[in-house]
Amino acid sequence: MGEKKDKEPTFTGSRPYAPREYDKKEEERLRALLRKIFAQKTPPKG
């Protein structure tokens, strides 16, 4: 897991954006977390 930090900042003030990268384990944790949140939004009826 980590963020790319390989680009030079521009003069005008931005540090070029690079998407965050997750390893497989973290990605699985996040998928499970998202499922959990979705389940909280739509709890089973009855």
């Binding site: 003069f11 931005s14 540090r15 998407p19 997750y22 977390l33």
Partner: protein, 361 residues
């Protein structure tokens, strides 16, 4: 009975004629009712110019009150109160644009919309936030000795964020955006798409905004380094210091103060920006077993704000370091303009740094 005697539902024409008149009357009556209903056209003038989410908020409230049997006048008063509250709570009057509270509300609504149907982790790349921090506001205020100029400087950036062509540029890339004034020298943009927002688009967007701003010549009119008053104020020379001096002495003082300013220097407005998608910030969301759905939405919203702010702060540090480490006289001077308002400690640190690099001043 031939086909001409039938209407589309197969009824007899002579009967349908009567029915049609009745239906038409009914429709006209309903249209009239709708026209006089405060939850529709009658409150349009009150909600004009508000972002859709806020219009819907007011209309939903008024519809609810209609159900309680309030008459037209009462509903109109309620709608006026709500519209006023909404404008006070969610709009920045200085720039006539949504504020940070609105940004939070809109972001939570967007996250809620994403969490529909078969949501997958990659869907979180469809929402991004860009944080902007306008550099040099304190310097503009201090050197011009006027907060009015500071407000003009902020408005300059607000105008760029509100430009129609920027919204069109995003729309061409399938992105809906809302720009917000987040307080002080901070601004933001919420970007939404039904597709993943690529890093190229985010970088192009930030470059576009930054370039538009740095090329806006109004900045050099707000902080005009060809103006004697500004030159003297920058050098820390007050009217009191000049009292009793001869014209020749004044001229010499001014010439001395000018020496520090690069030839034909024009002050530029520069904004530092940082972006993050919900995907980037999702790993930072800490959820406990007691959190209900609303609280989770709030935490997800908070995490994307924190992440884009963090990236913006890193950009700001890089940018200022880049100015200080530069050999370009204009950049070195801009670093001095910024540092002028960053306190004595920072000024001393810079001075020491210059002395190490260039020898005694």
């Amino acid at each position: 009975m031939n086909n001409l005697e039938k209407n589309v539902f197969g009824q007899k024409a002579e009967n349908s004629q009567e029915e049609l008149s009745r239906k038409l009357e009914n429709v006209l009556q309903k249209k009239q009712e709708k026209k006089s209903s405060p939850s529709h056209e009658a409150i349009n003038d009150l909600v004009e110019g508000l972002p859709d989410i806020l219009k819907e908020k007011i209309i939903a409230d008024i519809k609810r009150l209609e159900g309680y049997g309030l008459n037209e006048e009462q509903l109109r008063i309620e709608a006026e109160i709500r519209a006023r509250e909404i404008r006070e709570n969610y709009l920045d009057k200085r720039f006539d644009m949504p504020n940070k509270s609105f940004a939070k509300l809109e972001t939570m609504q967007t996250i809620d919309n994403i969490l529909e149907g078969e949501v997958v982790l990659e869907d979180l790349k469809k929402t991004a936030r860009v944080s902007f921090d306008l550099n040099g506001l304190k310097s503009v205020n201090d050197i011009t000795r006027s907060h009015e100029n500071g407000d003009r400087y902020l408005k300059l950036f607000a105008d760029i964020l509100k430009k129609e062509e920027l919204a069109v540029w995003l729309k061409e890339r399938n992105i809906e955006a809302v720009a917000t004034a987040d307080g002080g020298d901070e601004f933001g943009a919420i970007l939404k798409s039904d597709k993943e927002i690529s890093s190229d688009v985010l970088n192009e967007f930030m470059d576009k905004v930054e370039n538009e701003l740095s090329q806006d010549e109004r900045a050099s009119e707000i902080l005009d380094f060809s103006d004697e008053k500004i030159i003297l104020a920058f050098a820390g020379i007050s009217e009191e210091d000049l009292a009793g001096k001869t014209a020749e002495e004044r001229r010499k003082i001014l010439e001395e103060a000018k020496k520090e300013i690069p030839a034909d220097y024009k002050f530029k407005a520069i904004v530092s920006s940082g972006a993050a998608t919900l995907y980037d910030s999702f790993a930072d969301v800490k959820i406990s077993g007691e959190d209900d759905y609303e609280r989770i939405l709030g935490k997800m919203m908070g995490s994307i704000f924190d992440k884009s702010d963090e990236n913006m702060q890193k950009a700001k540090v890089d940018f200022k370091r880049g100015l200080r480490d530069s050999n370009d006289p204009e950049k070195i001077f801009l670093a001095k303009v910024y540092s002028r308002s960053e306190g004595e400690v920072e000024a001393r640190r810079l001075l020491e740094e210059y002395m190490v690099r260039f020898g005694k001043l």
